[in-house]
Amino acid sequence: MTETDLVAISPLIFVIALAMLIIVADIIWPDRDDISTGLTVAGLLVGAGLTVLVAQSEAREIFAGAYVVDPLTSFLDVLFLAIALVTVLVAPDYLRPRGLPMAEFTATLLFAISGAMLISGSRDLLVLFLGLELLVLPGYMLAGYAKRDGYSTEGAIKYFLLGSFSSAIFLFGLALTWGFTGTTRIREVAASLAQLDTASALAPALLMGLALLTTGVAFKIAAVPFHYWTPDAYQGSPTPVTGYLSVGPKVAAFALILRLFVEALAPIKADWTPVVIVLAAITMTLGNLVALTQDNVKRMLAYSSIAHTGYIMVGLAAYAGAPVGSEAERAGLEGLLFYSVAYAFMNLGAFAIVSALQHRRGVTSQIETFAGLGRRAPWAAILMTLFLLSLTGIPPTAGFFAKAYVVLAAVQAGGWVSVLAVIAVLNAAAAAFYYLRVVVFMFMRDPPETARPVLTGTMMRAGLAITAVMTIFIGLVPPVTSGVIEFARVAAEVLLVRTAGG
């Protein structure tokens, strides 16, 4: 351990420190939500700045190779911090009327984010596991944050029980992998696996481990059939938390996949590719089919987020299905990363609107509450439409480019993965129905008699502005688009170089 190691990992340290600082500040100035909120926002911006400062164009291993700072780390960290920022901006308008304190919320959130950041640069199975636990444990707490709300706690306990269950499964998989390869270092795991005779069958124990790992991560990204917790946890959680849960842990879990499957398990990717392809197909299809029948917007978005997992998995499948060393491998990872960015903003935006509608207590997220929103709160309705269109994948929004990206990658990969491309777009068409149904309610139904205007605070507006701007800009402003693409490309490239290097 050297000083430079600490510098390299400073964003992570900073976030953890920030979380502690907020707890302390809350003790000093209790009931001052504005302080904790302000601190968090400022801190997150600083953290993002730090991340950019320490960003490396080449992989920089620290702590004896247990952690790495490379473009992928930076890419993901910036994204995590942005997710946290938007969540924090959106939260007060929801939490305050319900008497839920901000400080604990932000601190918990920051711990979770630090876990995500730990995953993003992790090069060690153990660190990976630690990061994962650090990510999900605060997540359970956030899900049950409204502890007097039966829905919230119900969602939380389901999330917790199943989450722990899957963590145990995942851990067993890690243990088997570790025992089989004899190392926790990802690079060495990959090297060890690469030495296996590719023609002969793998040891059953390793395959069993692989199955356990697959199940574990599939749970975390909410892939069907490991998705059961998602709708209930999302619906029950306080809406800003739902927004966070639908993107933060999901993207982090994909980061985990990148580090674990794409880096460590790449040499045996032929073994897990078919499973990924099948999972991707049923994930998007089931998510969409069930979302079609939902009348609660929050729950509908929960199912929709399952479907989006499927779309992101198409990128993964493209990587997996592509011949080793082909350009399609990179394209798949780029698609995955690009999709994650787009998905993060548009989904956060959509949940932000749902949460803005619940400004007053007792307002549910039944689709009827959206009736006539176009008249009551035109801007909210327009933004919601934007997010929904983006989620549908209508150009020129970020969601469209993201979808195009993964589809392109899938097409490049060829074979069965290109069938996934077709399934993906058919799903997108079906999904249009339920997204547009919300638009129907907002613009084509009259508001109920009792409807009152929607109030949004400044922070909520800022949060909405960020998500909306990103949703539009990623698609429409060439420098932004190219920037994200380039960043994703560099990140993916690093991953591939290392994989190829063994």
Binding site: E327, G374, L389, T392, G393, I394, P395, P396, F400, A404, V407, L408, V411, Q412, S418, A421, V422, V425, L426, A428, A429, A430, A432, F433, L436, R437, V439, V440, F443, M444, P478, T481, S482, I485, E486, R489
Partner: protein, 506 residues
């Protein structure tokens, strides 16, 4: 011309107008109306400026604009027009301002939003016709959906939500598959081009590239499905009657006048030249479907009780000529197909305007309740009659030449098909004249008598919307060369592509 990016201007002036309207005060619908009208007129005038500057007979595309957009994939912002696009752009700008003007009266609720939707719609429509990059094309192609979705869904009739969702979902299924094909095409190009993305979405480079036949089949089918739904071809047409019935008048005008043309244009610009081998392979099937559409649409139109449905089914029939003309791969057929697109846009647009005029007064479109309109509203009756005649292909009016050329081209290739297509001459006369007889002739119906003094003849504004279309119908009927001369070059390119004139890129 100077270096003025005129195509960009034409395309995006409406967007500027839409943004402007967004910031107009809510309580002043008149401002929104006028702003929209003026914006669309500016775009219209700009598009007219193209006419004198356009060099007839010059090969390739003109007024080209090109800029990198997403260099990582060679995606460009590339615009340009040839004769086909020029005709359709002018059609679009014309129908746009007419539609906006026609909305002045009928649209009273949420005028601002309506006008914004309409202007964005115009951006998409023009964009489709001027884009020379497949990705850009797709984006414009999809952008069109959203405002149309809103226009039908917000300002439409009783069953509007069903209709608009059906319209959007149906169209989306096709177009999303096309997206896959566009991306696959680009990738295919890139792979065969040594991994270089440059030009992978560039229409001019893709055209004549000579893709692998197996790939062509897949890509062609995906493109063709998208366009077949848009045109719409039998059996993908059932969204059209629903959408038309529910759409507000101007929506119907644009839907019939321009949106359906996106499909025809897509076939002629993309599906056929990019994948000529597959196009030839599937041509017989498409010809059969076109013939079915032509006859079937006309027969079903016969028994429609609703004026708009009748015109909608007539559109199915008329658009069948477009696809028929394209897929006989023969000069007259292709030129006729494009001409038919323009004509159908003008005539059917006008017919929907006419239906709108009567709907404004009676809030009804049921043919059975009409009758005897000739006496109380003679000018209206005359206009309806005029467009009815144009629609049934009376020579001297524009409908005739396009249809005739298509059938002629078909006859050249397969006389049997031409015979079937020609039967529509009788059928179209039957359904249109029967409609006309029931609506305009006879004694004034009890229903209309109940309308009383509200049953007024066309207002000056309505006259202003219909007169240009009358003029166009006459002009293009007597001087179809105005359009046809534009088409020789582009059409020859298409024919060259399918007749094996493809150059294998190296």
């Amino acid at each position: 011309m100077t270096n003025l990016p005129i195509l960009t201007l034409i395309t995006f002036v409406p967007l500027a107008g839409a943004l402007l309207i967004a910031f107009l005060p809510r309580g002043r619908p008149d401002l929104a109306r006028w702003a929209a009208l003026i914006t669309s007129l500016v775009s219209f005038v700009l598009s007219l400026l193209l006419l004198p500057a356009f060099e007839v007979g010059a090969p390739g595309f003109q007024f080209k604009e090109q800029a990198d957009w997403i260099p990582a994939f060679g995606i460009q912002y590339k615009l340009g027009i040839d004769g086909i696009s020029l005709a359709l752009v002018v059609l679009t700008t014309t129908l746009s301002w007419i539609s906006i003007l026609a909305s002045f009266g009928p649209i009273k609720d949420r005028v601002k939003e309506y006008m914004i939707s309409f202007l964005i719609l115009e951006v998409g429509m023009i964009g489709v016709f001027v884009a020379l990059d497949t990705f850009l094309f797709y984006i414009f192609f999809e952008i069109v959906l959203v405002p149309m979705y809103l226009i039908i869904g917000i300002w439409g009739g009783a069953n509007r939500i069903y209709a608009t969702l059906k319209f959007v979902l149906y169209t989306l299924i096709g177009s999303l598959l096309m997206l896959v094909a566009i991306l696959a095409t680009a990738f295919s190009f890139q792979a065969l081009n040594g991994g270089n993305w440059a030009g992978a979405f560039d229409y001019e480079q893709l055209r004549g590239f000579g893709f692998d036949p197996g790939f062509q089949a897949f890509a062609f089918l995906a493109f063709a499905l998208a366009f077949a739904i848009k045109v719409p071809m039998f059996p993908f047409h059932t969204w059209l009657p629903d959408a038309h019935v529910e759409a507000p008048t101007a929506g119907s005008v644009i839907l019939a006048g321009v949106l359906l043309k996106l499909g025809g244009y897509g076939f002629i610009r993309y599906a056929v030249p990019l994948f000529p081998d597959a196009a030839v392979t599937f041509a017989p099937a498409i010809i059969v479907l076109s013939l079915i559409a032509i006859i079937y649409g006309a027969i079903v139109a016969l028994v429609q009780p609703d004026l708009k449905k009748l015109v909608a089914y007539s559109s199915v029939s008329h658009m069948g000529f477009v696809t028929l003309g394209i897929f006989v791969f023969q000069q007259q057929g292709l030129e006729g197909a494009v001409l038919q697109m323009v004509n159908h846009g003008v005539i059917t647009g006008a017919l929907f305007l006419c239906v709108g005029v009567i709907y404004e007064r009676t809030h009804d479109r049921t043919i059975a309740r009409m009758g005897g309109l000739a006496a109380p509203v003679p000018v209206y009756a005359a206009l309806l009659g005029f467009f009815m005649l144009a629609s049934l292909g009376l020579p001297g009016l524009s409908g005739f030449v396009g249809e005739f050329l298509v059938v002629l081209g078909t006859f050249d290739v397969m006389p049997g098909a031409a015979f079937v297509a020609m039967l529509v001459v009788v059928l179209s006369a039957a359904y249109l004249m029967w409609m006309f007889q029931r609506v305009v002739f006879g004694e004034l119906s009890d229903f209309l008598r109940g309308i009383g003094h509200h049953l007024t003849d066309v207002t000056p504004v309505e006259l202003l919307t219909l007169t240009p279309l009358v003029a166009l119908t006459l002009l293009l009927g007597v001087f179809p060369g105005l359009i046809l001369e534009l088409l020789h070059g582009p059409v020859n390119d298409v024919i060259a592509a399918v007749s094996g004139g493809t150059v294998i890129a190296r």
